[in-house]
Symmetry: C4
């Protein structure tokens, strides 16, 4: 099945376009960062950043159209199997979530040694959480910065708020007060929780695996099956 896929034009396009598109998404994120954070400097920088964002988005749109054509499917059918692609087209800040495809592509190309399963999940989900958190901090900071009664007034506050939100600690010392800030917050909670859940879940699984392997190495002395609690 894998070999067949590599033969189709769509698969070839996806393999070739993945890395440039990832760089484009990083450029998009960087341009967005400049646009939001550079609100005190010359206006030209913000305009330049906006133009860059628009350019990157056009690249994303072109990629989507090319892939739709190459798939030979109708739009509604293509959307059903590639709904994640459509979502990241509308919300390019979510693009980091496609990181997992990039990883697969890179692996195929470089033929590298495979990292441990859990380490890869931790790295991927952790990286996704970091990129998503950065984008969320920017977006919330943009909404809250000038709102009356806001507690998120510096970008440092926004980063701190993102961290306590993604880990579900939620002290509540800084919280969004605007409607759009809260909508972004809810999106961030849902996406980020799943990613960080994957990180902590993988770590727990890895820990249990380490101990299980110990069990297999040495048969228990008292004839109980490994893993049986004593009480």
């Amino acid at each position: 099945m894998d070999v067949d896929e590599a033969e189709t034009p769509l698969a070839r396009w996806e393999q070739r376009a993945e890395l440039p598109l990832f760089w484009a998404s990083l450029v998009f994120l960087a341009a967005y960062s400049v646009r939001i954070l550079a609100h005190e400097v010359d206006r030209i920088w913000r305009e330049l950043a906006f133009a860059t964002m628009l350019l990157m988005w056009l690249i994303f749109a072109a990629d989507f159209v090319v892939r739709l054509r190459l798939s030979g499917q109708r739009l509604h059918r293509f959307l059903r199997t590639h709904w994640l692609d459509a979502v990241v087209l509308l919300l390019p800040l979510l693009r980091p979530l496609r990181l997992v495809k990039l990883y697969t592509t890179l692996q195929r190309r470089r033929d590298q040694a495979v990292l441990s399963l859990y380490v890869r999940v931790i790295v991927y989900a952790g990286l996704g959480a970091v990129l998503l958190g950065w984008a969320g901090a920017l977006a919330v900071y943009h909404q809250e910065r000038t709102a009356p009664g806001a507690t998120i007034v510096t970008f440092g506050d926004a980063i701190w708020w993102v961290c306590e939100t993604l880990t579900t600690v939620g002290y509540g010392d800084v919280t969004p007060v605007t409607t759009w800030g809260r909508i972004i917050a809810v999106g961030l909670m849902i996406c980020g929780l799943a990613l960080l859940g994957a990180v902590t879940g993988s770590f727990s699984s890895w820990l249990i695996q380490v101990f299980t392997r110990e069990d297999e190495k040495r048969p228990p002395e008292d004839g109980r099956p490994p893993g049986a609690p004593s009480s």
Copy 2:
């Protein structure tokens, strides 16, 4: 076993009644929404909404009685195997939780392509959480709106409070202060946590599955079993 079930009158009734009952529960939820949110408009709307709720509830009760009869079981035995049905009869706002049965029924009828297991769990549990959250936001808003010292004063606050409660973030910027508001909150915490736990858990499982399949495709070079951590 499945074939036998489809032969019994009870199973036939359940298959036929499921979809109308689901629509009835949505109408109930809509009428409840009107009753709570339209507190500033003409009183006639609220009375109409209440009448609709009562009618829908009578439909639910009739369905329960029909199924009790068709099962040929005593009440206490029927309650033991259908306790969820009894709970949703008393608290019709929890009815969305029966969505899983509706899905099964629809699948049988339409003979559709099966979605991925994890996607289905995410969609079902996510949808359940959304419906439950909406009902909870309405109920809490109704209790808190006019309470002295309340922080949940608009319906937007109630929605925001539901989102931070279901994700267990719990900033505490808005919290229920009335006894009934808090009782509803506790019910929402318990039901919603389980649903959202299913969503994030499924996402994590899906992520691990994606990486595991990669492992199976390519044997590791260094002879270590797949998934073995290196340190």
Copy 3:
């Protein structure tokens, strides 16, 4: 192994004593509730409650000694395999956690139909969380009630605080301020989180199981293995 166990005097004692001890632990909890909550009524009631608690504790201690003797083991060895028993002897409010043993004993006696695995875990862990939460609310209320600057001033506040703590929502509208209140809170967080984690985890597993069984009933049309995501 099971049959052998039933033959030893220790196993016979444990089977016979389990139910009376469970009632004793409920009496202990009730007496503690009276002692804490009846701080405004006649002093005789509180003294009576204290005497009851002492009596129940003597029963627990007697049971522990009997079992230590019947086991024929040294104290330090007995403690290693029965550390949970020693903990509940020192902190009788944690005794509800032994509920799982009671369940096993009752099952053996009555030879009842077995409930579904997940339902049993949910019921046991949920019941354990309720009993633990009640005990924790009493203990924290006792510490905080008269403390200067306390936010937990009524027993209702204490219950509300326990609920938002066990679900890890943690709004922070009411929090313990005394040292002992905080120590009890930490214990409650750790014990309760695990119990409620079992409840939500079981619910998620049950949900995934329901969908998995659907998969097994109907082979997918497009030849993909069940559970395979499409993107």
Copy 4:
């Protein structure tokens, strides 16, 4: 593979050095505790504590160099397989996380009876969380103690803050306000969540295992497979 490892000089060094290094890391932690908590006593104590910390760190560095040499690998390759070792070299307060290796080493030496898998994961992860929490409380207390507007003003506050952070309850009654305090907090959230996730996850798994074993002992009467929900 295990036997081969035990033959190499690196494995022999690691087995011999593990226990002394663990004691060294406890001494480091104790010295750090003295340095932070003894801010009101004579300055000589703090200087002494600092010297001890430096000495311990030199021991850690020496161990790292010895192992790098014994492995015969280049630095970049060694770092890839021993990245955890490099992290604990830079942040010695994270050293308790290597506890899992110590456990393995001790087991090999003493040839003790194996504890239940879940009990071991709970003990290891719980101990790791305690040590990490202690180190985090010290570090945050050091940053916050003298900050203007700080809510963490006593070490008791810091401990309470660590507990509500690690369990993700996050009341928000005490929160770090300094930049470095918040950076430490984020590190603590991520590391600690994973450890405590392992504890609660193991407890849930153990609970499910206990009930599963009951299922296997007694076949259900009604022919349903064990674990099948009835509704």
